[in-house]
């Protein structure tokens, strides 16, 4: 692919490149043409009652990305069952990032998983929220000195609500969801915009530990 498109693509990229474009240095020159190099941008809230109404609606329909990133994902299964029944709160699981608005980090995240977490998080469409489940997401938990698990998930993606415990029970998880809904209604869940504002800081942290960066700098 490089041989065919290389020099031509390079010229095209030079023509459009400026400060606002992403370098996408992890991609080969031939692949760069297939990926978007636009930086993410802020999404400002509506004015007044429109935003209040939108936030109420958002809080009533939380769709989870069904991606169990660690052992804590085992606590998501009981939520579906009749005993805890998350559907009564308007919460349900979705199979792809494009369809979901809540990402639950299920406990420890290895470097290999973190790469997929970043990729999935960026692919989710806004407004999007992150629930960090378990001690491992807060300070590394029992894996705090492991060579392969990160300590603080909030250095890599913005987190809205932490649920402490190892594991937290489904009741705690539901408590976290209710807290998240309350925060959404109050307009406090601006994680997506925080990610945009501190984009360079988040990217630097991610790239510091993900050494084989072979994806675009922002996964649109």
């Amino acid at each position: 692919m490089d041989g065919i498109h290389g020099s031509e693509t390079e010229k095209q990229l030079e023509m459009v490149s400026d400060q606002l474009r992403l370098a996408n240095a992890g991609l080969s020159d031939g692949d760069k043409a297939y990926f978007c190099d636009v930086r993410p941008h802020r999404v400002e809230p509506y004015k007044g009652i429109m935003e209040t109404f939108a936030n109420w609606a958002r809080s009533q329909s939380l769709w989870i990305l069904g991606f169990g990133t660690g052992c804590g994902a085992i606590e998501l299964r009981p939520l579906m069952t009749s005993r805890f029944d998350m559907y009564r709160y308007g919460i349900q699981a979705r199979p792809t990032p494009r369809q979901s608005c809540v990402f639950i980090i299920g406990g420890y995240a290895s470097v290999k998983t973190l790469k997929r977490i970043v990729r999935s998080y960026e692919q989710m469409q806004g407004p999007k929220f992150v629930l960090a489940l378990g001690s491992c997401t807060i300070n590394g938990g029992m894996y705090w000195d492991s060579y392969n698990t990160i300590n603080r998930i909030d250095h890599y993606i913005p987190v809205d609500v932490y649920i402490a415990g190892c594991m937290p029970r489904p009741e705690a998880l539901l408590g976290g969801f209710l807290r998240l809904k309350q925060m959404i209604r109050e307009g406090k869940c601006e994680g997506m915009n925080r990610y945009v504002d501190d984009f360079d800081w988040y990217k630097a942290n991610q790239k510091q530990i993900i050494h084989d960066w072979n994806m675009p700098d922002y996964n649109w």
């Binding site: 290895s110 470097v111 290999k112 790469k115 807060i138 300070n139 590394g140 705090w144 000195d145 492991s146 060579y147 392969n148 698990t149 990160i150 300590n151 603080r152 250095h155 942290n205 510091q208 530990i209 993900i210 050494h211 084989d212």
Partner: protein
């Protein structure tokens, strides 16, 4: 036949099997190991490779590979231990005996740096992607120091001596009797 009778019979049976075929662990020189394992598989009936793992004996500067084999016909396990030098560690591959051994060997290459020439995909990354340090399961690798300088530790974590802490916090009245 009562349960006790049946247990006794089973024990006697397994005892006679044990006398016939070695069970437990045998230590084999590296040069003869693959030949020995082939014999166990084809003639003695140890047809299942349960796992292949390594232990780092850094004091003796050797890795001890353990090939755990299982005999379905007689219900026996046998661990074949092979000591190899720690410096430029390498071992003959057994992927021609069990194809799934290639996965274990790939893992050992990544985690301990033990090379298995000829094993399929042995140089591909297994769990670690883009790892740049020495293999992390080698005991000279300081995992705590690596974690602290890499993964942004959250300040405020402290540790206690378990016994002292329990005396102090949980059982202050009983602490004197300990």
């Amino acid at each position: 036949m009562t349960i006790q009778d049946r247990d006794t019979t089973m024990q006697e049976k397994s005892k006679s099997f044990r006398e016939a075929v070695p069970e437990g662990f045998v230590n084999v020189p590296a040069a003869e190991a693959v030949e020995y394992i082939t014999r166990l598989r084809d003639i003695e009936g140890y047809t299942h490779l349960v796992f292949l793992t390594a232990i780092d004996y850094i004091e003796d500067s050797l890795f001890r590979l353990t090939y755990m084999l299982h005999n379905y016909f007689k219900g026996l396990d046998l661990g074949v231990q092979v000591d190899i030098a720690r410096e430029s560690a390498g071992m003959e591959s057994i992927h021609h005996l069990w194809p799934h051994a290639a996965t274990y060997q790939r893992e050992l290459k990544e985690m301990f740096g033990i090379d298995f020439p000829g094993s399929p995909g042995v140089d591909d990354s297994f769990i670690l992607e883009g790892w740049m340090e020495i293999p992390p399961m080698r005991r000279e690798f300081d995992t705590k120091a690596y974690s602290e300088q890499t993964y942004f530790p959250r300040p405020g974590r402290s540790s206690h001596d378990t016994t002292e802490y329990m005396k102090e916090k949980l059982y202050p009245s009983e602490a004197e009797t300990w």
